[in-house]
Every structure is written in structure tokens, then in C-alpha cells.
């Protein structure tokens, strides 16, 4: 016999905290392993209770691990079979978020960065166009100037 707590969580799979806000369906109930089980994808057996069928998440105290309930089945003997899959985010998240890593994406950056983001929905072809004027500072250029002819000659006294 093992102790477990059933939850109904609405948190996203990627969350490392699926318990905050989760509904406890059944605290500290007894479960059994169904035959020989893996700790990654175990199958547990527990006595039938209609309320249990609402659960989608389970904490197994003996394993000290959190599992998704990926499938349920009920047999005629009044047992519920919970097919589970380990949630490493909930189980190890508190620890591994302190491990050195190469971070490639993050939400709280808040805006695109200098690193190209191929997932950002940008039109491949359509672009906008605008311009910035850089005026000639002395306003010297004009098509109808007055003293705007330059005669270059040889002879006389050179200019320089």
C-alpha cells in the first residue's frame, strides 16, 4: 500500500507549479502498484470512488514524485486503474531551475531581443517604408540660384 493525493489541476503542462490553485480531490488515499511498475510511467490501483474520476494529477508520497494521470480505467471489480506519467517539472523543478543552463527563450524579457526569433509572426515579404530627411544645413542647394555660375579660366592671376 502506498499513500497518494489526487488533484485536479488546470495548470499548463509546462508549469513547474501545478498545485497552486489545484483542487484536492482526495488527500492521503491508499493506492497499490499494479503489478511491477516503472517510476516513470506507473499504473496504480485504488478502490472505486466516483469523485476520483475527476482527478488528473497525483502525488505519490512513497515515490516523492508527481505524476500526470494520463488514463483511467474502471473494472467490474470496482477498482480504478490510474495510468500515470512522471511530471519532472513539478518533481524536480525547484531544484533544476538553479542549475546552470543555456537559456534560449524567456517570457519576462517582454519583447523581442537582438537574437533572431524565427517563431515571431513577421510577414516574410510585406514591409512598410518611410524615410528621414537630413537637410543640408546651410540651405545652399537650389535649382534657381543667382550667383551660381562658375567660370574657370587660365591666365591672369591664378586663384590659388
Amino acid at each position: 500500500m502506498m499513500a497518494a493525493t489526487l488533484y485536479k489541476t488546470t495548470a499548463d503542462t509546462k508549469s513547474i507549479d501545478k498545485i497552486t490553485g489545484a483542487e484536492i480531490i482526495a488527500p492521503d488515499i491508499e493506492i497499490k502498484a499494479f503489478e511491477s511498475v516503472s517510476i516513470l510511467t506507473p499504473v496504480f490501483v485504488l478502490a472505486y470512488n466516483a469523485a476520483y474520476l475527476r482527478a488528473n494529477y497525483i502525488y505519490v508520497s512513497d515515490f516523492a514524485k508527481w505524476y500526470y494521470i494520463t488514463d483511467m480505467s474502471v473494472d467490474t471489480a470496482g477498482r480504478i486503474f490510474l495510468r500515470c506519467s512522471i511530471d519532472v517539472r513539478q518533481t524536480f523543478g525547484v531544484a533544476f531551475i538553479h542549475c546552470p543552463a543555456i537559456i534560449t527563450r524567456a517570457e519576462n524579457i517582454g519583447k523581442p531581443t537582438l537574437y533572431p526569433d524565427s517563431q515571431l509572426p513577421v510577414h516574410p515579404n510585406k514591409k512598410n517604408i518611410t524615410s528621414i530627411i537630413m537637410p543640408e544645413t546651410s540651405s545652399s542647394f537650389t535649382g534657381d540660384g543667382d550667383t551660381c555660375y562658375l567660370l574657370t579660366c587660365i591666365g591672369g592671376e591664378p586663384t590659388e
Partner: protein
């Protein structure tokens, strides 16, 4: 670079360099726990002639620095000093204390800036050094293993002397400039040494004050000296100040007055002069504007000040705070910044000197880098060219004047051709149209010119048309600089290939700029008009560094047509000669005819008797008359030719198109930028909208950071993670790695 922990101990074990109460550990300069120093031979001991480890040096002194040169003076042969320009690639700040009283006391009155007495100095903590071999000259040197720039500001002192080298004084440069104590550039113009005094603190908010080093202190080399000079082998302390005033460190000049009988004294610094008056050998340089002193101190790569109050309390970007510039190789050449420009220096943002990336053992990039492009003044183009600025009316007048060249030549007093005038004034290629090189119109409101309007002189001929002298061969026109501002928060969207930049330059066309080069920088265009050729060159600068040049044609050639006077003169000259010849022929023609008449009579008589004589005379007379008539006709024809020579024309240049004039006369940066669902199509694009936030929540924003995931929040994706210390099975670790790649909401 990180200090060698084997040699200097782990950073956690470093000691504060002062014992000031309430010292802030994060703000104090650090010294190593000397008992753990390992030279590589014996723990806790420095070996004889073993250099200090070089991992705590934050910068080097380049060989072109004004303090790089080391003189070695042999008193017996002082006229031939040995010297070396090797530069100092690795030096340490530190102090030497042999008194071993630990720790030293500390007191300071922060309200008394003028009090520099011993009790108000910031003391360093000496360590027990008894175990060090006495033969190691560096045995007592305790280096600063970590220096906080804000808390290690150098105040400049100088040694000065009179013109007679009779009154050598040491004084703060601030006091020297202000003549506080009667030693000033006027009374003591010769600088014989430059010192710096580290002014330090161990809090980030407290006032800085002098560090007092009881015995010796200063700077030391952390490697075997490269110099092949006598008595330097095994000596590592280079500029240590031997128990002198105010714990200053001498960085330029000789340590003490040198006498002839001293052997092997050392003088540091360039550009000085030796003086041998009064039986002493003095190395000195005139104060001048003092700029060279700042360059000497800047070579140390730290913040420094001339004013005492700035050294005590000034912020690193204070108006009177200076900062030595460290180049990309980590070397100092003597350049410096001042005031807010200090913010651009890496030292400004260093937490401590260990943040420096300088590696004394790394190969040195031999190139000198510059972020500016110099423009040269174009002058002295001595030539035979003369330029006139004309207005439209003058151009019309010029067109007429060029056809008047023949008008004045038929003006003899008697109404005949004035040959002499023609020959003297117009014969030898005095041709106005030949003197014209070009006539161009520029799209310029007012071509730069000087003086007042005056008649033009084309070659030798002065004509009625007037214009202005134009003394410039070229002229630079400036366009208002712009900062190429990133419209998408300086993200990848602001760069290629998402954003493209084209620059239209009037008269030169449009060029493509790489957004990766210019985004966030100031773009500047200068247009140089060559007023000789009519071409122009545009220089496109990014933060004062020219990155593109492009050429164009700005002037329109105006065809000029005028009398080709050389040919006119040639024709006229030939005509004159013909006329003269024909006139002479006309005058002698009757005589010739009479002779021919007599000859005819003789011939007739001989042939045909009297009748023959008559007949012969008649034929001769007719021939003579015809000859005279012909001469007359030829003479008239020659005169006619002379006075009716058709003036040939010559044209200068051909007309050129005006297409370049039809578009904008201003530069224009043309920007194409992306659109998308999360980028609202507004100007400027709305970059902070709900769609972008939703995107970030689902996908996260791209980054590349070597960090832990808990540094971020929301969705975090890690492509690689080190799971050391995680108590999980290998399969679980594989799942963790996969989960991190997929992303976790934290």
C-alpha cells in the same frame, strides 16, 4: 581576468585593504591573505627571483606611452644613458610594510579636506611577512588583488624646480597651478618628477582620502623585467617610493637628485631633458600647458584628478574627473577622457579591476584603432586657374563679349588697318576663348566668393563682363546628422534582413547601408563639391567614422562659343602681308608696264619695221595696263580679305543633363521595416501591445544567456542544462532536459 586563486587565494578570503569602521566589503579594495600565497614552489613563501603572478593586472602601459621609457644612468658615463622602450605589460599596485603591526589604525575627518596629517590617512593592513626569504627584494610587497575604480582615484603631485635648478619642491599639481605655496609655473617652470597619490575609500558613498603606506609603496612589475640593463635582474618593484612624502608613487622622472658619482640610477619617462648644472644630473621638462602631465597619469588606466576636492568627493563623471583610456588590447597610451565622456570607458562600469579582460600573456594586436576619420583641408592647389563667380546676367554679357574680339582692330587713324596694333596686341595667341577652361552652373544658391564684383580678365584681355573672385577649389556642405533609431526596441527586427536602410544623397544617387553597422549610431553625410571639375564626393560617416564614399556630378556644363582669335589673327596677318605686297606691286606696276611697252616697241621694230614698232608698242602698253590693273585688283582683294576675314568660332564643352537637379536636395534615409500580427502597423510601430504579450507567454522571447532558469520568470526555455546535484535517475534527467527544451513556466 580572474586572479589566480592558487597564488592569491579565493576571493572570499581576501581582506579589506583598510580597517575603517563600517567598511563595506563590496566597496573595499582587497589584498590577499598572504599566508596562503603560493609561488609555485613553497606555500606561503615567495621564491627568490620569482615574479609575482600576473593575473591581477587590469591594464598595460603601451610602449608609446609617455611613461614607458626607462633610462639607466651610469654616473660614470652619464652622457650615454641606456634606455628601453619596451612598455610595461603587467604591473601591480601595492604596498610594502616591514613594521608588521596589524592592523593599522584608521581615522578620518570627512569634513576637513585640508587635513592631510598622518592621523587622517586611510591605512592599509599589513600582514606578517616574516617567513619570506630576505634575499627576495619583493618579499614585503603586498599587491592589491582587487581595486574598485571609484575607490582608487589618483591625485597628481609634481616636483618642480626653478630655471636655475636651485629650489626643488614637491607640491600637489592643483596647488602648483593655483600658486598656493609660492611654487607655480612662473616661479618653478621645470617639472622634475610626476607623482600620483591614490585617494581611496572603502564605502561607495563615503569620502575618499589618502592611503598611508608607512614604508614603501607603489607599483611593481609582475614579471621579469625585459630590460637588458645593469642591476635590474630580480628587482621587481619599479616605481616604489622609498618612504617619501604623502605616499605618492613616482611615475615620471628620477627618484632623487643624481650626482655624478652615483652608479646606475633609473629615470622613468620620455621627452625630458638632462641638465648637469650645479654638479647634479637632473631630468626635467618644462611645464608648458601641463597636458603632457595628464597623459603620463592617464597611462595608468585609472580615474585621476588634478583638483583635490574632485579626488576626495568627485563622481567618476564629474567635470574635473579624468579617466585613462584603455585600448582594445588593454594597453594605455596616455589618452584620457573627462567628465561625462568617462562613462564610455570600461572602467566606469567595472565592479572592480578583476572585471578587466586584460590578459598580459595574450598576443598584442599591433593595430591602432580609431573611431574617427579626419578630413583634410584642401588648399595650396597652386595652379594657373582663375575662377570667377557669375550671375545669369554676367553669363549673357560674357557671350557677347567673346564675339567682340575683332571689333577693335580696324581702327587706324587714317581709316586703314592699324597693323602695329594688331601685331602687338593680338598676334601672339591672345585669345580669350582659349583662356576659358569651363563655364559651369551649380545648383548652389550662392557659390562662395570673395571681394567685390570686377571685370573679368581672360588671358590678357579684360572684358566688360564682371564677376566675383572664387578662391576655393572645393567646398564642403554638411547635412544634418541623424541618429538611426531602432524602431523595434533594438531587437533583431531592427537589423538585416528585417529592416533595410538606403541612403539617398543628392547628385550621387542612393546607396544601401547595412543596418547592422549603423543602427543606434549617428549617421552623418558631408558633400564635397570640387569646383574645378564639377564633380562631388559624398562621405557617409557613422559616429564620425567614414563608412561609405560615393561620387557624383553636380555641375552642368554651359557651352561657350566665341571668336577663335588665333585663327583670326593668322588670317589677318596673312591678309596684311598680302595687302602690303599687293600695294607695293600696284605702285611698281606702271613702271613695269612702261618697261614692257618699250620692250615691245623694240621687239616690234626688229621684227616688223615701223608698223611692227607701232604694233609692238601697242601690245606692250596694253600688257602694262593690264599688269597695273591686276596689281590694283590684287591689292584691293588683299585689303578686302584683310578687312573681311571671317572669324572662326570655337566652342568650349558641350551641354550636360540636369537630371540630378530634379530630385530632393536633401539627404534622405529610406527605411523599410517589417510588419506582422504582433507589430501594429503604425508609425512608429506599436511594440507594446497585447498580442505581443500573448506571444511571449506562449513562446517566450529569444535570448542566449548562460544563466540559471530561476533568473527568469514565466515561460523559460533552456537548450542545455547541467544537472549536477539533481537526485534523479538518468531517464528522469533525460526527461528534465527534454522538458527544459520544451519550456517551463516558472
Amino acid at each position: 581576468m580572474l586572479p589566480n586563486s592558487v597564488f592569491y587565494g579565493e576571493p572570499e578570503t581576501w581582506l579589506n585593504a583598510t580597517t575603517k569602521p563600517n567598511a563595506d566589503n563590496d566597496a573595499a579594495n582587497k589584498i590577499p591573505p598572504y599566508s596562503t600565497i603560493n609561488s609555485g614552489i613553497a606555500v606561503g613563501k615567495l621564491s627568490v627571483n620569482t615574479p609575482l603572478d600576473n593575473s591581477i593586472c587590469y591594464a598595460g602601459i603601451a610602449d608609446d606611452s609617455p611613461i614607458a621609457q626607462l633610462y639607466c644612468i651610469d654616473g660614470a658615463d652619464y652622457n650615454n644613458p641606456l634606455f628601453d622602450y619596451s612598455g610595461i605589460i603587467n604591473f601591480l599596485w601595492g604596498y610594502v610594510d616591514t613594521t608588521t603591526s596589524i592592523p593599522r589604525g584608521y581615522s578620518i575627518n570627512i569634513n576637513d579636506l585640508s587635513n592631510e596629517s598622518e592621523t587622517n590617512k586611510l591605512f592599509l593592513v599589513p600582514q606578517t611577512l616574516d617567513d619570506y626569504p630576505t634575499s627576495n627584494p619583493h618579499r614585503y610587497f603586498t599587491p592589491f588583488v582587487s581595486i574598485i575604480p571609484r575607490n582608487f582615484v589618483l591625485l597628481i603631485y609634481i616636483e618642480c624646480d626653478t630655471l636655475q635648478f636651485s629650489d626643488r619642491r614637491q607640491v600637489a599639481l592643483d596647488d602648483y597651478i593655483n600658486n598656493t605655496y609660492g611654487y607655480s609655473p612662473t616661479t618653478h617652470p621645470y617639472i622634475t618628477a610626476i607623482h600620483v597619490a591614490p585617494v581611496a575609500s572603502n564605502t561607495m558613498t563615503g569620502q575618499r582620502s589618502f592611503m598611508a603606506i608607512n614604508d614603501n609603496g607603489g607599483m611593481a612589475l609582475a614579471y621579469n623585467m625585459p630590460y637588458d640593463l645593469p642591476q635590474l635582474e630580480g628587482i621587481y618593484d619599479y616605481w616604489a617610493n622609498r618612504g617619501n612624502v604623502k605616499t605618492t608613487v613616482k611615475i615620471w622622472g628620477n627618484t632623487n637628485t643624481l650626482y655624478y658619482n652615483n652608479t646606475y640610477q633609473y629615470i622613468n619617462g620620455k621627452e625630458g631633458t638632462f641638465n648637469t648644472d650645479n654638479g647634479k644630473l637632473t631630468y626635467y621638462k618644462e611645464y608648458g600647458d601641463g597636458e603632457w602631465i595628464l597623459r603620463c597619469v592617464a597611462s595608468l588606466g585609472l580615474f585621476f584628478a588634478v583638483k583635490r576636492t574632485t579626488a576626495y568627493t568627485g563622481a567618476l563623471d564629474d567635470t574635473d574627473m579624468y579617466c585613462g583610456v584603455i585600448d582594445d588590447n588593454g594597453l594605455c597610451h596616455g589618452d584620457y577622457t573627462r567628465g561625462t565622456d568617462n562613462r564610455s570607458q570600461p572602467q566606469y562600469s567595472w565592479t572592480n579591476t578583476n572585471d578587466s579582460a586584460y590578459d598580459p600573456t595574450a598576443p598584442i594586436d599591433p593595430n591602432t584603432y580609431s573611431n574617427t576619420t579626419a578630413f583634410n583641408y584642401i588648399g595650396g592647389l597652386s595652379s594657373m586657374l582663375k575662377r570667377y563667380v557669375l550671375d545669369a546676367r554676367a553669363v549673357e554679357s560674357l557671350g557677347g563679349d567673346l564675339f567682340k574680339i575683332g571689333d577693335d582692330i580696324v581702327t587706324g587713324e587714317s581709316g586703314y588697318v592699324d597693323y602695329d596694333n594688331i601685331i602687338l596686341n593680338n598676334f601672339l595667341t591672345n585669345n580669350p576663348i582659349d583662356a576659358i577652361v569651363s563655364l559651369k552652373k551649380y545648383p548652389v544658391r550662392d557659390i562662395p566668393h570673395t571681394g567685390s564684383r570686377h571685370p573679368l580678365k581672360l588671358g590678357k584681355v579684360q572684358i566688360a563682363t564682371t564677376g566675383f573672385d572664387m578662391p576655393y577649389s572645393s567646398f564642403m556642405y554638411l547635412f544634418k546628422p541623424i541618429k538611426v533609431f531602432p524602431r523595434f526596441g533594438n531587437s533583431f527586427l531592427d537589423y538585416a534582413p528585417y529592416t533595410t536602410l538606403d541612403l539617398y544623397i543628392p547628385f550621387c544617387g542612393t546607396i544601401q547601408l547595412d543596418p547592422n553597422d549603423v543602427m543606434g549610431h549617428t549617421l552623418d553625410v558631408q558633400l564635397l563639391i570640387d569646383y574645378t571639375t564639377g564633380n562631388c564626393d559624398a562621405f557617409v560617416s557613422c559616429d564620425n567614422l567614414v563608412i561609405e564614399t560615393v561620387s557624383g556630378t553636380i555641375a552642368i556644363d554651359i557651352p561657350v562659343t566665341g571668336t577663335e582669335s588665333a585663327t583670326v589673327n593668322s588670317n589677318l596677318t596673312q591678309g596684311i602681308l598680302n595687302s602690303k605686297s599687293m600695294t607695293a606691286a600696284r605702285k611698281i606696276a606702271p613702271l613695269t608696264g612702261a618697261m614692257k611697252t618699250a620692250g615691245g616697241a623694240v621687239a616690234g621694230g626688229r621684227v616688223a619695221g615701223p608698223g611692227g614698232a607701232v604694233g609692238g608698242a601697242g601690245i606692250g602698253a596694253m600688257s602694262a595696263a593690264k599688269s597695273g590693273f591686276d596689281s590694283k585688283i590684287s591689292s584691293i582683294a588683299a585689303d578686302y580679305e584683310l578687312t573681311h576675314t571671317q572669324a572662326p568660332l570655337r566652342m568650349i564643352s558641350a551641354s550636360s543633363p540636369v537630371g540630378g537637379w530634379a530630385i530632393d536636395y536633401n539627404c534622405r534615409l529610406i527605411i523599410t521595416y517589417p510588419t506582422g500580427n504582433v507589430i501594429n502597423n503604425t508609425t512608429p510601430p506599436d511594440f507594446n501591445n497585447d498580442e505581443l504579450a500573448k506571444y511571449g507567454h506562449i513562446n517566450g522571447f529569444a535570448t542566449l544567456d548562460n544563466a540559471t532558469m530561476d533568473k527568469y520568470s514565466g515561460l523559460v526555455v533552456a537548450d542545455a542544462i547541467n544537472l549536477d546535484g539533481i537526485a534523479a535517475t538518468e531517464n528522469e534527467k533525460d526527461l528534465i532536459r527534454a522538458a527544459c527544451k520544451e519550456g517551463c513556466y516558472i
